[in-house]
């Protein structure tokens, strides 16, 4: 891709970007949200036509008017939000849009067989071609996407933040799959915010900033700190804000809490403290946050000051929850920033309705405009709006479920600072994160969950191994 440029509604989002990927290369594309990575990839996949520049595949110039053209040219893209139909089977999804036909009719046996063969090649045997996608886990759905790319005989596979929704052990599986693609001579373009995996996986790194190319270099020539500097254009210094010096009074206490997903939960959240909650996917981390908040309440045990039975009671008790899935659970995407920021205040009849502007500045929304529809904001800015929503009611306890998932480095630091600031002002903060370095860097205390129970509590700054041992149990130590 040479000299690619693109404008949306007169706003130039991409200019003079070059990208060269070789066969059998894993090529990481990094940059903050809004740097133009996704737009560049969508141009490559034929979703948007470029305004300027040319694309060549195997030395031949191509131009795509429709995603189908790109598919035919051997480009497959695995979007951050999966492009799968939950109601249809694995095979039907894999061959969507190009079902094999025999005598004019869809050849279902051939479709199933081809899918089964590709699943076998990837060493995937936990599901079959006829299973409905609805029953698959996120990691399994990703395998379906990869099979789809393989069935296209793709020469270029674009993966847009493939690990954003995966737990640690699933990430390893994915990396193995990427290596297999590489081994087949496929060029993999890999978009990620996780620097560690960029260095683990990629042969080359291309850095974008504000729609322009910063650099493209072999991974060996870069250091993590150097890469961050290139991405944000400044030194971030230490990743995490300093910890609290001392914890204050207890804001919330649970003894013997339980429901159908949790058992024997004893937990204390204290003012000024950030409590980290670790655990594997499915260990009950989100369930615990939702129980404290009243969304999926505890059915057993004591909780002080109150045990909320509904979300309204939770909010009344001064508890706020920043949910894991901000698009589905945190925001009304088609409403304005202002309406979203006031969601809680209006619903609960509490808190202030003026001063939204100050609040948006406080959460460092850039630009702090109130009238834009939230769906047009970047992931980081959306998360800031979710935060603003809770700040209107000045909660005493704030629960964060994966607050920085899919958020770029700059916004991530801003959210970290803000969390620490809130704790400093006397809020009790609990944070869930699948990214262990983040969890360890932020937390004053870490509680580890396993199968719905607390398997241990660790003081500030434990090793990743210590956390993993508690999370996985003896087996995977």
């Amino acid at each position: 891709m040479i000299g690619i440029g693109k404008s949306f509604l007169g706003v130039r989002v991409l200019g003079e970007v070059d990208l060269v990927a070789a066969a059998g290369e894993v090529h990481a594309v990094v940059g903050e949200n809004g740097a133009g990575k996704s737009t560049l990839m969508k141009i490559l996949a034929g979703v948007h036509p470029p305004d300027e520049g040319t694309i060549e595949i195997d030395g031949r110039g191509v131009s795509f008017g429709h995603p189908l053209d790109a598919q035919r040219a051997g480009v497959a893209i695995i979007h951050q939000e999966f492009n799968l139909l939950p109601e249809r089977s694995v095979a039907e999804n894999v061959f969507l849009g190009r079902e094999p036909v025999r005598r004019g009719l869809v050849d279902r046996p051939a479709m199933d067989a081809a899918t089964a063969r590709l699943l076998g090649e990837l060493g995937e045997d936990s599901f079959g071609p006829r299973d409905p996608v609805r029953h698959l886990s996120v990691a399994q759905q990703q395998v379906v996407e990869i099979v789809k790319a393989l069935s296209l005989d793709a020469r270029i596979v674009v993966m847009d933040e493939p690990t954003a929704a995966l737990a640690e052990h699933e990430v390893d599986l994915l990396h193995r799959l990427v290596r297999r693609l590489q081994g087949r001579g496929i060029a993999v373009l890999y978009i990620s915010h996780r620097l560690r995996e960029v260095f683990d996986l990629a042969d080359r790194v291309t850095v974008l900033k504000d729609g322009r190319l910063v650099t493209s270099a072999a991974t060996g020539e870069l250091t993590p700190d150097g890469l961050v500097r290139l991405m944000v254009g400044r030194d971030l210094g230490s990743y995490f804000p300093p910890r609290a010096t001392s914890a204050g009074e207890t804001r919330l206490r649970v003894t013997g809490g339980g429901n159908d997903r949790l058992r024997d939960i004893d937990l204390e959240l204290r003012a000024g403290e950030i409590l980290g909650l670790a655990g594997l996917q499915g260990s009950g981390r989100s369930a615990l946050a939702k129980a404290l908040f009243g969304a999926e309440p505890f059915t057993r045990g004591r909780m002080t000051p109150v045990r909320p039975r509904t979300v309204r009671e939770g909010i009344a008790a001064g508890i706020g929850l920043v949910t894991e899935d901000r698009k589905a659970e945190g925001l009304a995407l088609r409403q304005s920033v202002r309406d979203n920021a006031l969601l809680v205040a209006r619903a609960s009849g509490r808190g202030r309705r003026d001063g939204v502007r100050e609040l948006l500045e406080r959460v460092r929304l850039v630009p702090p405009r109130q009238d834009r529809e939230v769906r047009y904001l970047s992931g980081g800015n959306q998360q800031k709006v979710v935060l603003a929503k809770w700040l209107t009611v000045a909660p005493r306890v704030l629960l964060f479920d994966e607050p920085t998932r899919g958020v770029d480095v700059g916004a991530k630091a801003a959210i970290h600072d803000l969390m620490r600031e809130l704790a400093g002002e006397g809020a009790a903060v609990m944070m869930i994160s699948s990214e262990l370095p983040e969890l360890i860097g932020m937390s004053d205390r870490i509680v580890v969950l396993r199968e719905g129970r607390i398997s241990g509590t660790l003081p500030a700054g434990p090793s990743e191994e210590a956390v993993m041992r508690l999370a996985a149990g003896e087996v995977a130590a």
Binding site: A45, V47, H66, P67, L68, Q71, I77, H79, N83, L84, L85, P86, E87, R88, E92, L96, G97, R98, E99, V101, G104, L105, V106, S126, D131, P132, R134, H135, L136, S137, A139, Q140, E170, R261, G282, S286, A287
Partner: protein
């Protein structure tokens, strides 16, 4: 990755896929049993030949429209213009035939032409002008109504004897109209389950963006679907013209074919949002409504009460399906 999903997978898949269709046919069997018992208690006979034929005949026109409506709804669209189109095509058919056998072929061709045209307009307005299907088809329906009301103020045209066989003849216990319905339903089932077009209907209804990014020409699918849906309405128009012996400007709206066809589709377990369901459920839904009607007629129940029961049945059925899918979803944490 989800160890708990494996052993139960087979049974859950069965429950999910066969679920609504099975439920509607079970309900159908239940209603027949209850109806039979009630009518017998009332001193009547329920499963008479006359009655069985009546149910089939009553359901044929609605059934044909509902098959078309199933396609539209599966593709994530819907069609409110069918009732008006039925009136229009009944008039087109009767006027073209004008009582002559020689006009039959021309009449069928004219009806097909009108239907395709209306379907094209519906599809193009929805896809190219980006008007929501609800408004687009309502608007097209009103346009048709305006034209029909301007040109006609009562029944018009005449259908020859030969063509009236379509409306009244039967082979054994099976009316010709029911065979026509079966043929339409089988064709649609075949299209949906065996052809690329069918797969794409499910894809577009499931998620337009996913379909588009997979290389499906989504606009084309929606347009073809609306043409097929309108064709089904045209066939129903022909059938009703054969029954009446003439065309009538209000035959479609009087029969409530627009909302009733949608109700039958949803009753049959097809998701109103599209992407899930099928023709088999719709056939069950139509029969269920017809059997209910028949029971009420035999018991000579007040027609207002009839509507109340139909309303309750539709709402309860959809609530049951929602609960089942909800349970399945809930297992994925």
């Amino acid at each position: 990755m989800t160890p708990d999903a494996l052993p139960a997978r087979r049974s859950r898949r069965f429950a999910a896929v066969a679920g609504p269709t099975r439920v509607v046919f079970l309900a159908l069997a239940g209603v027949i049993l209850i109806g039979w018992a009630l009518v017998a208690a009332d001193g009547g006979q329920f499963l008479t030949l006359e009655n069985v034929v009546g149910v089939q005949q009553r359901s044929a026109a609605l059934g044909i429209v509902a098959v078309g409506q199933t396609l539209a709804i599966l593709a994530g669209s819907l069609d409110l213009s069918v009732a008006y189109l039925i009136s229009l095509t009944s008039l087109v058919a009767a006027e073209t035939m004008a009582g002559q056998d020689s006009g039959i072929v021309a009449a069928i061709a004219a009806v097909a032409g009108v239907s395709v045209l209306v379907g094209l307009v519906n599809g193009l307005v929805i896809t190219k002008l980006r008007v929501h299907a609800f408004i687009a088809t309502l608007g097209v329906g009103l346009i048709i109504k305006g034209i029909v009301d301007h040109l006609y103020d009562g029944p018009a045209g005449r259908v020859p004897e030969t063509f009236q066989h379509l409306g009244y003849d039967r082979i054994g216990p099976v009316p010709v109209s029911a065979l026509l319905w079966a043929a339409v339903a089988l064709t649609a089932w075949f299209l949906l389950s065996r052809t690329r077009y069918g797969y794409r209907v499910y894809a577009v209804g499931g998620d337009v963006e996913v379909a588009r990014l997979s290389g499906v020409r989504t606009d084309r699918v929606v347009i073809v679907t609306h043409v097929l849906c309108s064709l089904c309405a045209g066939i129903a128009g022909l059938l009703l013209a054969a029954r009446l012996g003439a065309g009538a400007p209000t035959v479609g709206t009087d029969g409530g074919y627009d909302l009733e066809s949608i109700a039958a589709v949803v009753l049959g377990g097809t998701a109103l949002a599209g992407g899930r369901g099928g023709v088999a459920g719709t056939v069950g839904g139509v029969l269920l409504l017809a059997v209910l009607d028949s029971v009420f007629n035999q018991l000579e129940v007040n027609s207002f009460f009839k509507d109340v029961v139909r309303g309750v049945v539709i709402v309860v059925a959809v609530a049951v399906y929602a609960r089942r899918t909800g349970l399945l979803r809930g297992r994925r944490a």
